[in-house]
């Protein structure tokens, strides 16, 4: 089956909005293609790998070299298109020799398992020649797919959830099972596709795989009408959600993004393997401040997550902890259908058993989450407000009778996040967006007053409506002071309310502060720039919190 079919699938999925139609298109594809191509299609569509063989910049340079195209012209085009792979695809149009399309029947499998891996083994000169050769012998319809795979930017509106639904419909097996099969590493092969569409459910083969995660919804007012005693209260940690699994002696650690991360946290895997029972725990991984018994900032965790086989000194410098808040399976018994309050009893029971029995003390790396017991809703609110003191983001509220289902199920778990911090800031720079926002100025930088000067303190790009974005884009074009490449400096005139989650000292920024998750929450057209906040206000905010 040819790559062309996959290109068509990509085009169809890209232009269909309805979920049912997408599923139909996917299933038609799966039914009419080889298992091996299907497995690659799933691999690509779900973003299992976004491995970058070459950068977008490299691709643009290469095109410029081969076809003697001015670099600045490609850059100008890029500003309009917002995606290197697509720019080059558009520029390649009608450029290539149509007579010798020897790659017109190449399959997705050949492309991904032979052609592209072979590229990375070549030296630069041969690699460039080979890419040129592929461009010129691959039918035009396939250029976008090829360029996107090369640059690792293959993204389309297909989620794991959609593939799950599609396969589930295809073979008529519950979504939970498919979702289970799709978790974690998915190596494209005939076997992996056939395993996915196997109509017989085999528990053994699912052994190391996590359960689909149950996610919390944003707090709803209606829950305050219920008795406080119906709920279990936990701190909402700002770490990485994970399932820690031990089955048949093997420990595996899975993120919610379905990655197996054993290699990043070997000390945890090692300690947990000494526990005699088998289990599946749901919890949070954090870098832990043992002295104060609170979590360190998320930025320290980032130093661990992307590092495989960390050295002993890294392990000491960034000590991790796994905080379990749920027990899903114990010694092969799936207890997700048991009520949360009873699962909690089991969790506590086993935790104390393990503490006594395990020779190798694990209290420095594993604990269960503490519960909070507010007397009434006002007190719950007080806890929430205090959450910044212990470096948490608020509360998680769980219905005591809830079973552990999957996805963002309504009406059982809620996150009650502490209100964001806010400052009013002045827009001073704008930069062209990429992808869907190409051609519009959508990346903004904001400043606060320091004496009579405006100092940049945060950049944000989310929070405005499409209509506001267009309106602001127009204003930006008319009020540009200077252009520096894609960036424009602007007349200070517009004030925006910027919300963020965390504020801390930073030596790397001119303002001396750094904020986390800054976003625009209001266009303050009612405010003049003199009404905007000062850096001093920001420092006060910081003091108030710590």
């Amino acid at each position: 089956m040819s790559l062309k079919k996959f290109s068509e699938l990509f085009g169809d999925l890209d232009s269909i909005n309805s979920t049912n139609n997408k599923i139909e298109v996917l299933n038609n594809y799966f039914l009419s293609n080889d298992p091996i191509d299907n497995s690659w299609a799933i691999y690509l569509l779900t973003g299992k790998s976004n491995k970058r063989f070459i950068s977008g910049r490299y691709l643009k340079n290469l095109f410029s070299q081969i076809y003697e195209y001015p670099q600045w012209l490609i850059d100008t085009c890029y500003l309009k298109v917002g995606d290197s792979a697509e720019v080059i695809t558009l520029l390649l149009k009608n450029k290539t020799n149509s007579r010798k399309k020897k790659l017109s029947n190449i399959s997705l499998n050949e492309l991904l398992s032979e052609t592209i891996p072979a590229l990375s083994k070549l030296n630069e000169e041969d690699k460039n020649l080979e890419i040129k050769n592929i461009w010129e012998t691959l039918p035009e319809d396939n250029h976008l797919i090829f360029n996107k795979i090369l640059t690792g930017t293959f993204r389309v509106g297909v989620s794991i959830g959609l593939i799950t639904k599609s396969i589930s419909k295809l073979i008529n097996i519950e979504e939970e099972i498919i979702s289970h099969r799709l978790m974690g590493d998915f190596k494209p092969s005939i076997d992996s596709y056939e395993f996915l569409i196997n109509k017989n459910i085999n528990l053994q083969e699912l052994n190391s795989k996590p359960f689909p995660f149950l996610l919390a919804n944003t707090i709803e007012d209606k829950i305050f009408k219920n008795s406080i005693n119906d709920f279990q209260f936990e701190w909402k940690y700002d770490g990485i959600r994970m399932q820690l699994i031990k089955r048949s002696g093997n420990v595996s650690l899975w993120t919610r993004g379905q990655e197996l991360v054993n290699e990043s946290f070997p000390e945890l895997v090692e300690k947990m393997s000494h526990i005699k029972d088998d289990f599946v725990l749901d919890g949070e991984l954090l870098v832990w401040n043992f002295k104060e018994q609170i979590a360190f900032d998320f930025s320290l965790l980032q130093k661990r997550i992307n590092r495989k086989s960390p050295t002993r000194s890294i392990q000491i410098k960034y000590p991790i902890i796994f905080i379990a808040y749920d027990l899903l399976e114990i010694n092969g018994r799936d207890i997700r259908e048991i009520k949360l309050e009873n699962r909690r009893i089991e969790l506590e029971k086993y935790f104390s058993k393990w503490q006594i029995k395990t020779e190798n003390n694990f209290s420095d790396i594993f604990k269960i989450c503490d519960l909070i017991f507010p007397k009434d809703w006002p007190e719950a609110l007080t806890y929430k407000e205090k959450s910044r003191e212990n470096n948490t983001e608020g509360l998680i509220i769980k219905k005591k009778t809830s079973i552990y289902s999957s996805g963002r199920k309504k009406g059982i778990w809620w996150k009650y996040k502490v209100d964001p911090m806010q400052l009013d800031a002045v827009l001073i720079y704008a930069k062209g967006g990429s992808g869907r926002r190409a051609g519009l100025y959508t990346d903004y930088s904001f400043a606060l007053w320091k004496d009579k000067e405006l100092i940049k303190f945060a950049s944000a790009y989310s929070g405005l409506t499409n209509i506001e974005i267009k309106e602001l884009d127009k204003w930006i074009r008319k009020n540009t002071i200077e252009k520096f490449g894609p960036v424009r400096s602007l007349k200070p005139e517009m004030v925006f309310e910027i919300s963020f989650e965390k504020i801390q000292i930073s030596k790397r920024h001119k303002s001396g502060i750094a904020v986390r998750f800054p976003r625009i929450t209001k266009w303050r057209k009612d405010k003049k720039i003199n009404d905007a906040d000062s850096l001093e206000n920001a420092y006060e905010l910081m003091k108030k919190i710590s």
Partner: protein, 328 residues
């Protein structure tokens, strides 16, 4: 080098103006004398004392402005004189009646391209290469990422789009004058044989085209709102202004598409809010603009209607053509 004021044609109040003849080209404000390249709304205004255009443009213009306007018409290629300047219209291939306008004065030739395309279009005269010294060209799609496919390929894509979803009503949004008729003409040559409906504004233009001898397939005028939910499997042509929820909810089970050159870019397609985009344009693509610039043999080129920065730089660097800037 001459100052801007000394050019035969220059920008005045944001419009093209020839002082020697005291005549404006496609003015956006009422003036005494207006040369009109074609009948799109952004190329004429109400209230001019006198309009001058081709015969087809005059008919379309009257439909839009009113019967009582004073309008003088000339054939393509027919020269007429104003204050000693020879002026003539030449086909620009944009829509029915659309023209380039050439001025000759004291052996100096000026050409205003109007909106133009080189692609084949059975609903209007093919673009004519006109030699000139000075060229004033549009450059709506003045970047090399714009390269049009043959229009019959796009028509086949549209046909497939409709027939692949027989359960749906397919709404295709397009400009009511020119694009709609070109699409109808092309679609009637594809495998799609279902019913085609068109909105009143498009229907009206279809009729004028037909009266002027252009082969346009019969369409059913969308009138009865009550029946609009029973149109599955058919194609409906609508102007882009109707692409809003309040209108679309009259239909059941729809898929929407927009036919425009901008739809060749994925980000714009996504942002447009239509399910699908068909990249078909009545403007020249990058290669088309370059071809016209070269074949016109113009030594001096001005651009307007578009982002001309990259195009100008390219012509100066790569083709050594003198690109001038208008003082707006």
């Amino acid at each position: 080098m001459r100052t801007k004021q000394e050019y035969l044609i220059r920008y005045k109040d944001g419009n093209l103006y020839c002082e020697l003849a005291d005549i404006w080209i496609d003015p956006s404000k009422p003036v005494k004398k207006a040369l009109i390249t074609h009948a799109h709304f952004d190329h004429f205004t109400f209230g001019c004392e006198e309009y001058i255009s081709t015969k087809e443009t005059a008919i379309l213009l009257k439909e839009r402005v009113g019967d009582n306007i004073k309008i003088k018409t000339f054939e393509y290629g027919e020269e007429f004189k104003i204050n000693g300047i020879n002026i003539s219209f030449h086909p620009s291939g944009h829509i029915l009646g659309s023209s380039q306008i050439r001025f000759i004065f004291a052996e100096e030739k000026w050409l205003i391209s109007g909106d133009f395309k080189l692609q084949k279009d059975q609903t209007c005269e093919q673009y004519e290469i006109v030699k000139t010294d000075y060229l004033i060209s549009e450059c709506t799609f003045g970047l090399p990422i714009f390269k049009w496919d043959e229009s019959n390929k796009i028509a086949n894509d549209i046909s497939k789009w409709i027939t692949n979803s027989p359960e749906k009503t397919s709404l295709l949004f397009c400009y009511s004058l020119g694009k709609a008729q070109r699409l109808l003409n092309e679609i009637s040559q594809t495998n799609f044989k279902g019913n085609i409906y068109s909105h009143g504004s498009i229907h009206k233009m279809n009729n004028i085209y037909r009266e002027l001898g252009i082969d346009i397939k019969d369409t059913i005028k969308i009138e009865n709102k009550k029946k609009m939910d029973k149109l599955k499997g058919s194609l409906i042509l609508l102007p882009p202004s109707l692409s809003k929820v309040s209108y679309l909810k009259n239909f059941k089970n729809i898929q929407t598409a927009f036919a425009s050159g901008w739809m060749s870019i994925r980000a714009l397609r996504k942002r447009s809010g239509y399910d699908k985009g068909f990249a078909i344009s009545d403007h020249a693509d990058w290669d088309g603009i370059l071809e016209v610039v070269k074949k016109s043999e113009a030594k001096n080129v001005f651009f307007h209607h578009g982002d001309s920065e990259a195009l100008s730089k390219y012509l100066v660097e790569k083709e050594s053509i003198n690109v001038l800037l208008f003082g707006k």
